[in-house]
Structure formats: C-alpha cells, structure tokens
Symmetry: C2
Subunit: 174 residues, 2 copies
Amino acid sequence: MKITLFIATSLDGYIAGPDDDLSWLFTDADYGFTDFYDSVDALVMGRGTYEVIKTFGKWPYSGKHAVVVSSKTEVETSTPDTVAFKGELKDLSENLKAQGYENVWLVGGGELVRSYLSEGLIDNINVSLHPVLLGTGIPLFPDGFPRTMLELEAAESYDAGLVQLQYRVKKKKA
Amino acid sequence: MKITLFIATSLDGYIAGPDDDLSWLFTDADYGFTDFYDSVDALVMGRGTYEVIKTFGKWPYSGKHAVVVSSKTEVETSTPDTVAFKGELKDLSENLKAQGYENVWLVGGGELVRSYLSEGLIDNINVSLHPVLLGTGIPLFPDGFPRTMLELEAAESYDAGLVQLQYRVKKKKA
C-alpha cells in the first residue's frame, strides 16, 4: 500500500491563508488532479481539513473510502463513505491494508502530515507550488518531525506559474 | 536597481537546520550560482547570516560591496569590502542606487527577507529547492509579511533532485 501526500501550497509553504482562505488556489486547470484522484482508493485527512471541505457544500469524495483522523476525540462524520479514526497511524495503515486498499491519498492538513512524517509513513509527496507568498496561514509542514530525505521523480511547470513537484520519500533503514 | 533573493532551501522552507546546519546543501555542482554572482555588484545580508558566513573561514565575497544590515545595534564588520547598515531598508536602497549599484543580491536570512517583503523591495526570487524535509530550522519566509504575488519566469530541475525556481515579484500598484 502506498500513501501519497498530494497537496497545493504557496511558495512559502502554506496550504491555506488566514481564516482558511483558499482564494489563491488555481482553479483554471486540473493540474493532474483527476488522474491522481482516479488512482487512489482511500483518503485520509485530519479533522480540520474535514471541517473545511464540508463547508464547500456537497461532499466531493463520494464513492471513495474516506477516513477522518483525530488525535483526541473521535470526529462525528456525516458525509458519504466517511469513517472516523482515533488511534495510532500505524494501526490505521494496517487496517487499510487489511481491507485491501492500495493507494491512499493523504489529503492534509499540516498537523496530520507532521504525524505521518514522524512515523515515516508517507511514500510519495506531490506538491503543487503556487506562485504566491501568503505571508501567514496554515503551514503544510509544521516544524517538529525528523529529517526526511526525498528523491525528485518529476517536476513540471505550467504556463500559469504553478510548479508541480513529485517526490519519493526515501525510507530510513530499519 | 534590481534586488534579487537568491537562496537555497529545503522543501519545507528552511535555509538552515538546527545549529545553522548546512550539511544538506548540494555542493556537487554550481547550480547557476557563479553566473548569478558575476551579475551582481552588491550584497545585502542580515547580521545572523553574516556571522554564519564568517565561520566558513576566508570571506568568500571579496571584491563585492557587502552590506550587513541590523535593526538594533550596528554590526562591527571585519571582512573585506564590507560595511554595516542600521536604518530603513528604503534608505539603504536609495543609498545603493545613488552609489551606482545596479544588481543587488539579497543573501538572507529569513528575518531580513521578511523585512524586505514587508517593504515590497524585492524584485526577483530565485529559490534552489533541495529534495529534503529538514523538519525544523531557520525558515526562509518567517510569517508576518503581506501577501505577495509572483510570476514564474523559469523552472529547472537537476538530476541530483534540486529544482531551481525563478520568480519575478509583482509590484503592488501605488
């Protein structure tokens, strides 16, 4: 099973501006999202990300198994194909694997990304770097996880100024 | 006069790891630095960056006019062609311009970058994105400056996994 972080950020590493502002995100093109989305069979996201996505209106991920992770109290889920999980991320990975899921999209947010990086559980990182410095907001990589070496697999730049970078996470030797 | 931020960062936006660790920086190739360095006639850096560079041994920027900026007490400079500056960055730009300098390299670090961005004084940003997540360290873009729109001018990826991104800063209308 592969876990892929696929996410958009500003050049200064924010996934949202103040008050969950996403107005700076490019929506003029697909930027590989549909192909990626078609390739995944499960989604994992943190509680904050879940709450933000719910405000968009209709749940956009119907038909895909979605897991909302929280470290403290279990989240009440009210959207299609969505379950809550509270516990160790390693156990979540084992559960998903046992259920036959092969390609997991780690949707975000930053706190969950930090936990996944701390556990060494991310296999691939695909970052869509937007040509903007937000100056403040919600960081994709909040500090406090071990140094993680990456291997660049692809880099593509688009006319609109977005650069999409695809990395493989080098696993530490056990 | 053009002011260009030319700098290396980790994917998570650090210019140095803990204790000014730069061991993760690629030194196997030039990555366009020499051409860039040849194009500039003045350097501006913060006090912390100055102190770190001094620990490298021989001052690497002899023959280029270097300005060490501090917001509080004026720095005592002891290296060739180096002067200290304490005051408003706009005045520093006016001074440099009046002295005939045309291409200024903003060397770093993060605090000075934030001040320059707050004043809207950066013209170009050239970031060499290294394939590593440091997890903690000294941020290139510490939070607390106004949203800044960029225009991607070039993106180049190297076999070693480094991606060099070149942006023009869009100026706010006065």
